[in-house]
């Protein structure tokens, strides 16, 4: 994985994250694991496993902290990953 780019906090510059690389583009029963890099509310900035950053609505799993692993679908986190592992 390449070095992290400098953190941007301008939310307007981000699209919502759900760019599924493998499988259905967005609308199927596919969700993307991401890591929280900026734990803002109601949208956190998160990074996926392909090193892309995007906004994620986190109301359904709040509160979130930097480093939390979330499962995102349609730009919204629907589950925490490690909590149920």
């Amino acid at each position: 994985m390449s070095a992290n780019p400098p953190l941007q906090v301008d939310h307007e510059s981000y699209e919502y994250a759900c760019t599924v690389v493998d499988g259905c583009l967005t609308c199927g029963d596919v969700a993307v694991p991401v890591t929280v890099v900026e734990a803002s509310q109601p949208d956190a900035i998160c990074r996926d496993d392909h090193d892309q950053q995007g906004l994620v609505g986190v109301e359904l799993v709040a509160p979130v902290s930097k480093g939390d692993r979330l499962l995102v679908h349609g730009g919204v986190a629907i589950a925490r990953l490690e909590a149920n592992a």
Binding site: Y16, P42, D49
Partner: protein, 373 residues
């Protein structure tokens, strides 16, 4: 990569395949339905069937949300997209779904302002930036996707955004399963339950399947080993004469689901009395519409929608594919008139559609050989 590499280990896959084969009783044929299009995609991408005994057949279910949208709803969406001063937004796969007279991408080529988004929250951003336009989001998907639409509507309401609305096509997973179980066309032994829908709804909604129909359900993850382990768990239940709901995907799916997401769905949506599913016909209480509290954001109330029912093209056998009655390659137009570039039916559009999955990963040749036709 965590959550991926450890679920693609070849040695473990071979070991699970051996255990599955050992559980298959000689002379018995097993028909297992994977409900979810995401599972169909994994099965063909990773050649899961190649690891199974000939007697264990995987049947594709109706869990690809693009595939179950009837043509009339696509035509309604196109009619909305062509209205003046409208920006019409949808997920990318919906752009290519054929309606009775073209697709949303055709409407875009003809001048309609149709944009694809990765999230309904992006549609909301577009609405904020374009206060002189009406922005409509075409919502589709099962309970996995409905929370993102619900949160978007809650934010729109809180902001008092008057130029945003939703054409709601969200569907729910349990009613089509009931319809399939009642279908005389199909004799199934067990279900691989949808992983990410269950993240939201939990595992309890499937308990009627073992209780009333005596069939096991194993909620599964999306990596190759997840699926093989789930099939192993199903075979074990069948071998021991058990029928239960089990959760293979416990690292993501809580048994009770996401209660906060369920509350949000409850607030924003209510059940439609009935909804048409492609191939399955009208199923009662199988889809969502906006609740009275959010009726101001309902595009079907805000604008005139034709609401005409359109029959599928004669050549299209998506219905039979969606019910698992035929394999994709058994459709007369598969791979000839109907390809991912020129789809006739919905199952060829989304990469989760069974026809597209067969087409893209070349598994149809093997399936033909296996069934001897």
């Amino acid at each position: 990569m965590k959550f991926v590499d450890e679920f693609r280990d070849g040695d473990l896959a071979r070991s699970l395949a051996t255990q599955i084969a050992a559980l298959a009783e000689p002379g018995r044929h097993y028909k297992v339905m994977e409900v979810c299009g995401g599972h169909t995609h994994t099965i063909y991408k990773h050649g899961i069937e190649d690891h199974l005994p000939e007697t264990v057949e995987l049947v594709h279910g109706p869990g690809c949300p693009v595939c179950v949208i009837p043509m009339g709803r696509v035509d309604d969406a196109i009619a909305l997209a062509k209205l003046p001063d409208v920006i019409f937004t949808c997920f990318g796969d919906m752009m290519r779904v054929p309606g009775g007279d073209g697709s949303l991408i055709d409407a875009k080529a003809e001048g309609a302002d149709v944009r694809f988004v990765y999230s309904p929250l992006d549609a909301l951003k577009i609405a904020r930036k374009n206060p002189d336009k009406q922005v409509i989001f075409l919502a589709i998907g099962f309970e996995t996707t409905a929370p993102s639409t619900a949160l978007t509507l809650m934010r729109a309401k809180a902001e008092g955004l008057e130029n945003f609305s939703v054409m709601c096509n969200h569907v729910t997973i349990v009613p089509p399963l009931k319809a399939l179980l009642e279908s005389p066309d199909l004799r199934l032994d067990a279900f691989i339950g949808p992983g990410h829908v269950s993240t939201v709804v939990g595992c309890r909604p499937y308990e009627f399947i073992p209780a009333q129909y005596g069939q096991p359900v194993v909620v599964a993850g999306f990596e190759p080993l997840d699926l093989l382990q789930s099939i192993y768990m199903i075979m074990k239940q069948l071998g021991e004469g058990r029928a239960e709901v089990e959760n293979q995907y416990g690292r993501v799916v809580p048994w009770e689901g996401n209660m906060r997401a369920l509350d949000v769905l409850d607030e924003v949506f209510e059940l439609r009395p009935f909804f048409e599913w492609r191939g399955l016909g009208f199923i009662s209480q199988s889809a969502l519409k906006l609740s009275d509290a959010y009726a101001d954001f309902d595009a079907e109330l805000r604008f005139d929608v034709p609401g005409v029912r359109v029959a599928d093209p004669k050549a299209c056998q998506c219905g039979e594919v969606l019910k698992g009655v035929i394999k994709p390659w058994e459709c007369k137009v598969f791979g000839t008139a109907c390809t991912p570039e020129t789809p006739i039916g919905t199952c060829m559009v989304s990469s989760e559609g069974a026809c597209a999955a067969y087409y893209n990963f070349g598994r149809f040749a093997r399936s033909k050989a296996r069934t001897g036709s």
